[in-house]
């Protein structure tokens, strides 16, 4: 009996599809729900700062006069709470994770709203 | 849900009360300490096999010495050492006394400060 079980497992391992994926060649498929990283549609944002105040990790900084929205990606725990509290639905959770970084200064992403015309969008990955 | 009542108890009675609970078929499931700006107390929770549970509440202060109940329930050792290390309440006659090395925190009695003491 014991042999049958092991025989089946051996057969499965020999002829079945491997359980793992060849990672860099085969990219992982994320689900639509996957919480990867937080994105802000800066055209919708009115810099109320609610997301920053409610963030449990203190990852978001908002400045109204400068029209600046800034997130520290290494502090963010992707809990999704800022997305839920934003009254203007400016925030969303992207499916893809933050890419690994070798340079610590890359951890902060800053978005500036257009000063006069708040229609156009200017995205700047901070240096 | 059962077990939402907190019966007051004093440090002098606690060992006797615990023995009584042990006799009645209860077991100790937790001890914890709470400190707010207004008050500070220790809560003992006992539970029976039919899942009913009871709490005892004892007022203490930082630096007080309270008799340990680890002679009745050995498991109390861990909770009492924890309270000693984090809140600075002393326990006499501990079955195993870690003498403040149970949690090696950089601030001694880290939990004894309350929100009012260290506002950001």
């Amino acid at each position: 009996m014991g042999f049958n079980v092991i025989g089946k497992t051996i057969m499965k391992s020999l002829f079945g599809k491997p359980a793992t994926a060849m990672y860099p060649i085969v990219k992982n498929e994320f689900y639509p729900n996957t919480r990867g990283r937080i994105e802000n549609d800066i055209t919708l944002c009115n810099y109320c700062g609610l997301c920053g105040r409610r963030c449990p990790a203190g990852a978001i900084e908002v400045s109204k006069p400068e029209k600046k929205w800034e997130i520290d990606r290494t502090r963010c725990i992707v809990c999704n709470f800022c997305v839920q509290v934003c009254a203007r639905n400016a925030l969303s959770t992207e499916r893809h994770y933050t890419t690994p970084m070798t340079d610590k200064s890359k951890r902060i992403t800053t978005l500036y709203g257009e000063k006069e015309e708040p229609v156009k969008e200017k995205v700047q990955e901070n240096a | 849900m059962t077990g939402q009542t907190f019966k007051p108890v004093t440090a002098a009675e606690i060992v006797e009360k615990t023995k009584q609970y042990a006799k009645d078929g209860y077991r100790l499931i937790q001890i914890h300490c709470t400190k707010t700006p207004q008050e500070m107390f220790i809560i003992y929770t006992f539970e029976k096999i039919d899942l009913s549970c009871e709490n005892l509440k004892m007022d203490v202060q930082v630096g007080d010495t309270v008799p340990s109940i680890s002679g009745v329930f050995f498991g109390a050792v861990l909770y009492e050492n924890e309270i000693h290390d984090l809140y600075g309440v002393n326990f006499s006659d501990l079955a195993v006394d870690f003498k403040g090395t149970f949690y090696e925190t950089s601030v001694k009695q880290a939990f004894a400060q309350t929100g009012a003491d260290n506002k950001e």
């Binding site: 014991g2 079980v5 089946k8 497992t9 359980a19 994320f30 689900y31 729900n33 996957t34 919480r35 409610r54 963030c55 449990p56 725990i77 992707v78 809990c79 999704n80 709470f81 839920q84 959770t93 | 849900m1 077990g3 939402q4 907190f6 042990a22 077991r27 100790l28 499931i29 937790q30 914890h32 709470t34 400190k35 707010t36 809560i43 929770t45 539970e47 096999i49 899942l51 549970c53 709490n55 329930f73 050995f74 498991g75 050792v77 861990l78 290390d85 195993v96 870690f98 090395t101 149970f102 949690y103 090696e104 925190t105 880290a110 939990f111 309350t114 929100g115 950001e120």
Partner: protein, 360 residues
């Protein structure tokens, strides 16, 4: 009587990825005593409750532990809801139950894998974790996170699982069940495994009760205590009995966990059949009032106790988590004396220690 030696076990030991330290007092090869020390990674999360408002705190409490994270979130919400007197919608209760049981399935499979690794059954370890991956995929699909779900909120849950997805989950789980059945035979029937586990580290019925053992450690000693019987969330409406084994040794504890995997799967099937339609969250108004609330839940590792004290503001005065591993350390100290040094890793594993829980 041989000479006494003290051998340090941990804080870095191959069998546990987490820092648990035991000073083992040995006489030749026999353990005669053990002194634990923890606190290497104590984080003081309980204290953070004074600085995070009660909605945000869910996300902090969830991060107490990576394996039972959902039940921590659920327990926190349940305690605060109890304090505030909120009744959550039926569907939310069922969803919480389903996620909690899925957590139990993946936690027990993970543990079985670790146990296999501790005997030296490396490929069994691999197979267990391969099966577990399917459960994690369900989590990712339904909640968005593989480890930390962040779906619980005070007043309900954030995300719904639609009924088609629920049906699909059941088919995936039937697959998992078949595979676990195959794998569990090794744990139950294998001669070598039985040699390592039978009669090792016996915890008697009375000891288990007095020392405050919880969860599978307690039920492995024949005590039918399971917090789910309190009927929180949807457990009151589901049909199950606590799983109990008499012997109190490592084998009994393994058996309890193996059987609990199937029990949890069965609970999920029941919940999927019974889940009502409707809202998934109620609106929460105001702050937690002054008062205290204690709730007890069953985690994969055993009973967990939450205590919350409100003061009428949006910050709680105190939130306390008594994690199952903390309660199981005392029984572990009882099991160790009398066993061989070689059995210590297995004994330490059978309480399923989760140090990150303990060091919240």
């Amino acid at each position: 009587m041989g000479e006494r030696t003290i051998i340090p076990f941990g804080p870095q030991h191959p069998v546990l990825p987490e820092p648990l330290h035991l000073d083992l007092i040995l006489e030749d090869e026999k353990v005669v005593g053990a002194v634990p020390s923890i606190g290497f990674v104590h984080r003081g999360l309980e204290k953070l409750v004074e600085k995070r408002d009660f909605h945000e705190m869910v996300y902090v409490i969830e991060r107490v532990c990576g394996i039972c994270s959902f039940i921590h979130g659920q327990g926190y919400c349940q305690t605060v809801e109890g304090l505030m007197g909120i009744e959550i919608p039926e569907r939310a209760k069922y969803l919480r139950t389903i996620w909690a049981e899925l957590s139990r399935v993946h936690s027990h499979i993970l543990w079985l894998g670790l146990m296999a690794d501790a005997y030296g059954f490396e490929s069994l370890f691999m197979h267990c974790w391969r099966v577990r991956e399917k459960v994690l995929d369900i989590f990712e699909e339904t909640t968005g996170g593989r480890v930390i779900f962040s779906v619980c909120r005070v007043g309900g849950v954030w995300k719904d699982i639609d009924n088609d997805t629920l049906k699909r989950i059941v088919t995936v789980l039937k697959d998992v069940e078949k595979e676990i059945k195959e794998l569990s035979d090794v744990f139950i029937k294998d001669y070598t495994v039985q040699k390592r586990t039978r009669g090792v580290g016996v915890l008697t019925y009375q000891e288990a009760i007095d020392l405050g053992a919880v969860g599978p450690t307690l039920r492995g000693s024949g005590v039918p205590m399971d917090m789910r019987k309190l009927g929180y969330a949807a457990y009151g409406e589901l049909d199950f009995e606590p799983i109990v084994e008499k012997d109190g040794d490592c084998y009994a504890r393994t058996l309890v966990r193996v059987r609990e995997v199937f029990q949890s799967l069965d609970l999920i099937y029941q919940a999927v059949n019974k889940i009502p339609d409707g809202e998934i969250a109620t609106k929460v108004r105001g702050n937690p009032p002054a008062g205290e609330f204690i709730s007890r839940l069953e985690q994969p590792r055993g009973q967990v106790i939450y205590y919350a004290k409100g003061n009428g503001t949006k910050y709680l005065d105190r939130f306390r988590v008594r994690t199952p591993t903390f309660a199981n350390i005392a029984p572990l100290l009882k099991m160790l004396p009398g066993s061989d040094l070689a059995d210590v890793p297995i004994l330490a594993l059978t309480i399923d220690p989760c140090i990150s829980c303990t060091e919240r």
